[in-house]
Symmetry: none
Subunit: 200 residues, 4 copies
């Protein structure tokens, strides 16, 4: 029973209550991270101590909530090193990217997001931004290598980027092969060699 007395957040009167908004986003991410049950609007509202209407007032759909939750989460980013060697930088970047995916909760979040994106345009749009930002980071890393002459001018950096994130997502979603340091190293080597061919 635990009569908890509800310490709840303070009212903000006629202005939007940002604490409530944040609680919704936090709870949504938490629920998507937990491998467990379905993420329903009811569950979010209950866990956030929020009325269902408050969610519908500010977001057009459950997907939109998830999308904004993801967007606000996207800040956490992988540090990019600059050792002067493309292979070394790439290996480090990929290894670092893979590390966080060893956490079941992070993997659960990404898998649910990608799944949701297939049915909800809000999530799709946000996930497109999310992935675009990550691709941009990797692309810049590759660009630096290209500027240093480690990749030819004609290298198809778009394709190289998609090859890297393609492997990452493919293995996250299907789960047939691990994303360990060995994979990061092999992938980095492959990418540099592929880029050196100067296709396009």
């Amino acid at each position: 029973m635990s009569e908890e007395g509800r310490p709840r957040r303070p009212h903000t009167g006629r202005r939007r209550n940002d604490a409530a908004r944040q609680a919704v986003l936090d709870v949504t991410l938490d629920l998507m991270r937990s491998g467990n049950a379905d993420v329903t609007i009811d569950a979010i509202a209950r866990a956030a101590g929020v009325g269902r209407q408050t969610i519908y007032r500010w977001w057009p759909s459950k997907g939109a909530v998830a999308a904004e939750a993801l967007a606000s989460h996207a800040r956490a980013t992988v540090p990019v090193s600059d050792t002067g060697s493309l292979t070394a930088d790439l290996t480090a970047f990929l290894a670092a990217s893979f590390v966080s995916l060893r956490d079941d909760r992070t993997r659960s979040l990404l898998r649910r997001m990608m799944a949701a994106a297939q049915a909800d345009e809000h999530v799709a749009a946000t996930l497109a931004d999310f992935t675009a930002a990550r691709r941009a980071t990797l692309r810049e890393l590759l660009s630096r290598g290209q500027a240093r002459g480690e990749l030819p001018g004609g290298a198809d950096l778009e394709m190289l980027t998609d090859m890297a994130y393609g492997v990452l997502w493919y293995r996250v979603l299907v789960g047939h092969a691990p994303l360990d340091d060995q994979a990061a190293k092999s992938l980095a080597t492959c990418l540099v060699a592929a880029g050196a061919a100067g296709a396009r």
Copy 2:
């Protein structure tokens, strides 16, 4: 309302009615291919002219139906050419793989399947088989090139395969870049170059 007279399939008595089973699978695929609304058990049963219980009798979940429908569909496969040139074979294989994905209905099916796999273990298992079969085909193509000496013995064929299908799925799921002949050509070139490096 179009008194159609119901020509319905014949009874099979106490044995399972395979026509009903097939109707369920066909209708399920059709519904998943149609971009429209959710695929509900009710909708499948109604469209297949089947009682809901008949579905529950034979499949443990909606995902399992979708999984079997996908599996029975997986026969349609990409022809593998053998021109003597790895790059040529690879380009042809990838281009052929991409062609069917230009169809909205096929793309819709694959996206829904991958999404469903994230929440339903039956779909996940079947999709794992499905993708494994396709990887095996590509791997063999690469193996032949390796046997001909176009790839070194140490080439990480697993990684090359995942790079190819990674790009395919990533672009299908996120939709940020096309899967056209140009992409097939660039991807093939990249893969051969990557393999030539003999990583691992």
Copy 3:
């Protein structure tokens, strides 16, 4: 067909919608009165323009709905005359009681209620109240006759009452004999004579 535009009852927000409650009760009685098919929750909900959940929210079972519907209907009561003669009063009371039972719809309602009471404790409880109220009325009529000396002090009024309503229900439920004015007269005479014996 008949695009009727749904004038439906107004929303009451977070408070219970009493119009919906009344619609459910009204429709339930109507359906039980109509000799037709089974009274299903679906049918009640549909006819009342109510969601099925709204019924389950407020009543624990179909029987409970029927019970409350009957209870709210039970107001309609038989007028008790006071002519100074027990036999005359009794004959009038019984004849009036029998009159409404000449209506197929009323008889259908009572028969369904008694049947439902055998399987549903809510209906049983309500029907017990319902019949108790009617017995009390008749008992009082007999008491007045007793006070006037038309019945001895030792008369078993309980038994007399049950004999009267026993005949009524028995004939309603089995239908082997009519409940006409002749029956009312004979029954009244029998009861007065039976009471005069002063049994117990």
Copy 4:
């Protein structure tokens, strides 16, 4: 688990298997006597070790099964004494009739039968026969009293009979008052007095 090996009844080839018929009727009565769950065709078939089709082959509806089961049960009848005193005979008859109703299982059976009769014409017809036979017995008892001069020639024996069984059924169905020896005695006295008035 209890691998019981099913000693089941022998096949009778192309003739109707009367053992199966009897098993269905027995089981039906048993289920109706047990206060528990609903009596479904499935439950009858399962408990009788019979295929559902075997039931539908021989009876048009569940009610018809119940009806025949009741009819085959109706043999057990109340012994009629003949002491020379109408009141004594009547008291003995009613007391004996009430005794078996002290058994919950018998009461459950009668209540279910009466309830079923309200919705199923087969049960209604059989119950009408069942009750008519019992009324005839009582009527004859009253007739003997009339022949002996204990009741006037004009006594409404029909009404007296219905008053007796009316009380019995009313109390069985509503349960507001007991059917004990005291009730039998009071009822008998009332009936004799009522009959003595020579109504009609």
